[in-house]
Symmetry: C2
Subunit: 340 residues, 2 copies
Amino acid sequence: MKDVAERAGVSESAVSFALNGRPGVSEATRERVRSVAEELGWRPSTAARALSGEGAATVGLVLARPARTLGVEPFFLQLVSGVQQVLAERQLGLLFQVVEDVAAECAMYEHWWAEHRVDGVLLVDPRAEDPRPDVLASLGLPGVVVGGTEARRGLSSVWVDDAGAMASVVEYLHALGHQRITHVAGLSELAHTQRRMASLRSETERLGLPHVRSLTTDYSDAEGAAVTRRLLDEPDPPTAVVYDNDVLAAAGVAAAAERRLPVPARLSLVSWEDSVLCRMVHPWLTALARDPLALGRVAAEELTRLLDGAPARTAGVPVPRLVVRESTAPPPGGGRDGDA
Amino acid sequence: MKDVAERAGVSESAVSFALNGRPGVSEATRERVRSVAEELGWRPSTAARALSGEGAATVGLVLARPARTLGVEPFFLQLVSGVQQVLAERQLGLLFQVVEDVAAECAMYEHWWAEHRVDGVLLVDPRAEDPRPDVLASLGLPGVVVGGTEARRGLSSVWVDDAGAMASVVEYLHALGHQRITHVAGLSELAHTQRRMASLRSETERLGLPHVRSLTTDYSDAEGAAVTRRLLDEPDPPTAVVYDNDVLAAAGVAAAAERRLPVPARLSLVSWEDSVLCRMVHPWLTALARDPLALGRVAAEELTRLLDGAPARTAGVPVPRLVVRESTAPPPGGGRDGDA
DNA sequence: TCACCGGTTGACATCGATGTCAGCCGCGGC
DNA sequence: GCCGCGGCTGACATCGATGTCAACCGGTGA
């Protein structure tokens, strides 16, 4: 900093004023200082700024999943990528941490807070009985819940309309004539799993579909295949299955192929998440497409808002769109009255 | 810190000495201080430590890929997860950044260095003509090249034996009787792509196989499928194809299915990377299995070594193991002499 | 009795920025 | 000629740790 001040022929105070956009220096000086700093490749030390009350210029993101179930879905990295697009503009860094469970995640927040390491965090995979928002609130650490609903002091949410999306899927399958629909869900603890299950129930009640249920899994291809096999072995198997992610769905396709059950002639399949996986199996999967990149961007924007002192709120992202491909068709027996 | 000193009934100096494991305090006091700090949930501010010369307690990782091609392979998150297992022990944070290209990555390193934001970095996807090691060297920022070879002041590498792995695949296919082998490679700029291509050439020359070549792609399912279709439409199509990653290979399986070409009866396929994808297509893919988690661990260990002042070196990880599944068999015409 | 020793204290400098404040300079207006 | 004002200086405090150093305290051995 001394160097910059010297080279620009001004005092250190002037440099600080100039680069932080505060009044007290002329526009000419400001520009000169800026260009000298650029030329010298100088940037203020984050440590020093953090120490003088500026915050750490970093946001945190903890992913609580056992290592082995990690990284199958493209979803997560896409989300992070969207987050970064926004953070980059503000010169904010992303501190990323993978831990085993939610307890470790809470501990992480406490550590980060105690060390003043992050200014705020992004919270993913919100759960039904989730201790994390309370931890953040009690620490006073700003956060944004991705896929959450609540908004309280220092805690915003980005709301994803799982219920609406589920309704659109059910409506679509019902219009094709399906009566026996099964939902192969993800982890039952997750908030969005419960929302989807609830929406499925209410929608099918509304439409008068009796043979409907949700089965939870751990999102793995193994369970996806196992559940599907079990379903197909039933005396009255479902004619349509909705899977909570692309991995489950792809495993479902494989299981149907094993049983030599033609898709979609005998069984319709829908994936909740559109990714390359959906176009890598045969037949191509009808899928709910959301935009993880955009979700990440919105979440990051909400967080920067909070850091700027804006009040907490709940933002929304567009409802996922159903992309119809080859894996869905009217049920065997042909359409609306076939099965009844 | 004052609070801790007070509660433990000692001076601030004693607290600092105690918690940093330096001589000058009795074991009893050390323990008491430790427990008080624990109890109060106190941790030293990273900013303050960094300022007094301790380093930022953070390592950086930049991923230079366009957002849309991101996150298809499980490989990357597994790697990160392995990295974290080691970093966690040392209370090191991981600053993670996604950028568009290598130039942006170099700029990132310069920024981080200027801001004293990281103590070292992990460099992934090394390239043939790679400017990044030079940038790191000129900055004096310690780094570990994952999948690299060089070791110079402040730059270690974790060596992955692509050549040996390629040799084992070629040997296996040759033993089955394949003569016409095609390698569907990844990005040609990447160092490991070139190593694999070179190894393929030298191995097949050694074995006297003439109909062999490498074709580069961008790793996407789209190109994987397109290249495979083109290959199958040739008058003398290959009898075996080796794909540089799981996504390409899965796309290849799909393309073969489109053409109604039975795998492995008419065409054998091998994936360079074992993941759930390989067990989600039919037939299941024979694959080279490496352990990204272990790779991440080794890389992180090398980096902590460097940070501790150890000299740069090249570490190795085990050669990938070929897992034979359903997608490989002798070529049509049956084995060794069939095609000649 | 005194020197020595490990354990400990307290005061102070240091890291690199920001925040504050009195004061200086030159220029324009009255 | 003087005031006032915008632009700028220079010195000092601050953030929260670490590093250093002289000095102190109680116990032991000479």
